[in-house]
């Protein structure tokens, strides 16, 4: 047993760091450092740079354009990418639709979609949630009726992240309304967002950003050839997708990067006539966060190396611990950055900062962005199954209560 990285793992990490240092465009790095959400262009540009090294599809086997990394290498990659700080690769493309097609896709589907997903030539989004369903996914109503070589899709999806950027949407639809169990009668379709009958309506989040959408389907024709897996067996595909590859779920690198930034910023801010970084209470708060991050880092290593050992591919229920603790830390660390900004973090300067003049001068851009991401990440304990749902899962799966 040894927590330390092996020489190979250290060499691997250094290779990444060097590559990130030399290849991450400075303007992107700076936007990320200031706490901006990555733009579509930033994400695409960076993912393509990574894909030249076939690192974009970091969890895929070589034959499909991935690097064939071990779970430990994937963990290191994700953390270093977040620490850079660089935009994260599209999880819809890389950890969702990619593995699904590799597992369930036809040869033709693989050839058509995988390379473009890796290079983000197609931007994918996920059409799962529906109004009123919440965490109860299986209650979905969007219907797909067979009509010749097509399905005709009618219904509505909600909380669809980046649907307004997307070229394609992988979608759960009900193909058999009469199935006994709600989980049966569901199919998994790939839908071209340019198909007539699709309307995307933005949902503005409390941070003022447009990230989420409602997607309406009105007699949308989808070729049967774009169904993944058997008809009415889409739930198996969804279960595989949701359980798959949760290494990155804790987003620990992001939390670490935020604390690192907050420490730097706290050297510039003042509290009681001294630099904030010297304030005892602030130091204790940082020390506690770093202690908690260290504990989660080791727990994550344990989950990953357990996964390394048992190649059954089943998701470790402990990954729910990573989700809960990881999102708690993500929320705590972004709150820290906001609190460093203090009064300067309360204005919404986004528009004014875009203006040409800067007279009178405005406060620091990072402060207003810190609050934006604090607000945006209130959703971190909600999406992907609320933290309460995660505890229900642990109660059943681990405690057997």
């Amino acid at each position: 047993m040894d927590l330390r990285f092996t020489a190979d793992e250290l060499a691997f990490r250094d290779e990444l760091r060097t590559f990130f240092r030399d290849n991450l465009p400075g303007d992107i790095r700076e936007r990320m450092r200031l706490g901006h959400a990555p733009t579509k262009d930033d994400t695409v540009a960076w993912q393509r740079i990574l894909n030249r090294r076939s690192w974009a599809a970091y969890s895929w086997p070589k034959e499909y354009g991935g690097p064939d990394w071990t779970p430990a290498q994937r963990m290191i990659f994700l953390e270093e990418n977040q620490l850079a700080p660089a935009p994260e690769v599209s999880s819809f493309n890389i950890t969702m639709i990619g593995p699904v097609l590799i597992q369930f896709g036809t040869e033709e589907q693989k050839q058509r979609f995988l390379p473009r997903a890796a290079n983000i030539d197609d931007w994918w989004c996920q059409g799962f949630s529906e109004p009123g369903a919440g965490s109860d996914l299986a209650s979905l109503k969007t219907a797909a009726k067979r009509d010749g070589a097509d399905y005709v899709v009618n219904g509505q999806k909600i909380w669809t992240s980046t649907a307004h950027h997307a070229d394609w949407c992988f979608c759960l639809v009900r193909t058999d309304p009469h199935a006994k169990k709600r989980q049966e009668g569901i199919s998994f379709l790939l839908i071209d967002m340019k198909t007539p009958g699709i309307t995307v309506r933005p949902i503005i989040s409390i941070d003022g950003s447009h990230h989420l959408n409602e997607v309406f389907f009105d007699d949308v024709r989808v070729p049967v050839s774009l169904r993944v897996g058997e008809e009415n067996r889409g739930w198996d595909v969804a279960k595989f997708l949701l359980g798959h590859e949760r290494t990155g779920i804790a987003r620990l690198g992001k939390s670490k990067e935020r604390v690192k930034f907050a420490r730097e910023a706290a050297r510039e801010m003042r509290a009681n006539g001294k630099p904030l970084i010297e304030d005892p209470a602030f130091r204790h708060r940082v020390a506690q966060l770093e202690t908690d991050m260290k504990a989660l880092e080791i727990t994550q290593m344990r989950v990953v190396s357990a996964h390394d050992r048992s190649h059954d591919g089943k998701p470790d229920p402990l990954s729910s611990v990573l989700k809960v603790k990881g999102t708690e830390l993500l929320q705590a660390t972004t709150e820290l950055a906001m609190d460093v900004g203090g009064p300067l973090a309360m204005p919404d300067w986004a528009q004014e900062l875009a203006a040409l003049s800067n007279e009178p001068e405005l406060g620091p851009e990072w402060a207003t962005e810190a609050t934006r991401s604090y607000l945006f990440l209130r959703a971190a304990s909600i999406y992907g199954g609320t933290n309460e749902i995660q505890k229900n899962i642990l109660t059943k799966a681990v405690l057997g209560l």
Partner: protein, 378 residues
């Protein structure tokens, strides 16, 4: 020890609530936000009619001789609907500064104008570098003839865009962080050399960055004693803490009620989510935090007029901590229990969340005031 409201206080509360019930639906509020100043001039006039704008002023200045309890009742009602008007900036902060430091003429000319809704004030004290340190004033006041010349900049001035007059702090002597040598001035916002840049806060309320270059004011524009502005600033901030504490309690009440309603109506897995014991206890803990906040807001109101400065500062710092922690717990869980819908701009709970967030970071955040209390532990 007595928690009863007087007949007048009950009437006041009811009439304010009636007025707001008619004019502060979520959509109407959105329409006020959309106006250039981000609030409703029409409602401001009605507040004046109702006597709210002169509430804490003596009768002889067109006021109603009300005290912190009356202000608490009004702010609580404002908090329930997230009222946007510059009541805090004008009546509470500006009004307190005027009452405590204003000369006879200044009060005679300005308090009635405030009461009649004709004068909007802003409290221009904080600066880019000062964060929560009230003594950190770099804006300078240099004597010129019988008057003064002001140079510097003020940051995040609440409703600094709408204000006709700024109650502005500047240093006429002493070093940065020196409590002595700070003077308060009444500055006409339209004066030469005053530049203002307006923007919304995260909760939609308006503020401005204000720069001053060579702004000339007369001796009659000095508020209180030259160089002795700091004790007044402390009282103004304490009044602001008490008022926003009450506003936060009103906001918590609404979030608590919305969350309860949601738990009862929202169905999942075939039953109301309020059937989940974990969510029931969370809502109960929200209630306990709301009651803690209410108690602390009452404490703050009681203490605003406490003559002993140490006693007053200590208790108001405790109130700021208690309300800050309570409102954070209530608002974070209000969103958590709502789930996705709580994260959206179209839904009200996120607006209450952001108001409580801004209040917590105004007049010193929880950590700032807890540190002040800690230093007194001996």
């Amino acid at each position: 020890m007595d928690f009863d409201l007087t007949e007048e206080q009950r009437l006041l509360r009811d009439s304010v609530e009636r007025l707001l019930a008619d004019h502060y639906g979520f959509d109407k509020r959105r329409s006020y936000l959309a106006q250039p100043e981000g609030w409703s001039r029409g409602l401001w006039a009605q507040y004046a009619e109702l006597g709210l704008l002169g509430l804490p002023f003596p009768e002889d200045y067109g006021g109603f001789g009300g005290g912190p309890i009356e202000v608490m009742l009004v702010m609580e009602a404002f908090g329930r609907v997230l009222a946007l008007e510059p009541y805090l900036a004008t009546v509470v902060l500006g009004g307190t500064a005027m009452r405590l430091a204003g000369g006879e003429e200044q009060k005679a000319s300005m308090l009635p104008q405030i009461a009649e809704g004709e004068l909007i004030l802003a409290f221009a004290h904080g600066e880019r570098q000062s964060r929560y340190d009230l003594t950190d004033v770099l804006t300078t006041a240099k004597p010129k003839g019988s008057g003064w010349v002001l140079d510097g900049a003020k940051s995040v001035v609440l409703h600094g865009d709408s204000a006709q007059r700024l109650i502005l702090s500047a240093r006429n002597s002493g070093e940065r962080d020196d409590p002595d040598g700070i003077t308060l001035f009444l500055v006409n916002a339209a004066s030469n050399g005053v530049a203002r840049r307006a923007y919304p806060m995260r909760d939609g309320t308006r503020a401005a960055e204000i720069s001053l270059s060579g702004v000339e004011v007369g001796e009659e524009d000095v508020l209180g004693e030259v160089g002795a502005g700091f004790p007044v600033i402390e009282r103004v901030v304490e009044a602001g803490i008490a008022a926003t504490a009450a506003e936060a309690v009103g906001a918590m009440e609404t979030m608590q009620a919305m969350t309860l309603e949601y738990l009862k109506t929202r169905q999942q897995f075939g039953r109301p989510i309020g059937q989940n014991q974990v969510l029931q206890h969370r809502a109960t803990e929200m209630l306990m935090e709301l009651e803690r906040g209410r108690s602390m807001a009452m404490l703050a109101a009681m203490m605003v007029e406490e003559p002993d400065p140490a006693e007053r500062a200590h208790n108001i710092a405790m109130a700021k901590v208690g309300v800050g922690q309570a409102s954070k717990f209530v608002s974070q869980n209000a969103i958590q229990l709502h789930g996705g819908i709580g994260m959206t701009e179209e839904y009200a709970v996120g607006h209450y969340f952001r108001r409580c967030m801004v209040i917590e970071h105004t007049f010193g955040d929880t950590a700032h005031h807890l540190s002040r209390l800690a230093e007194q532990v001996r």
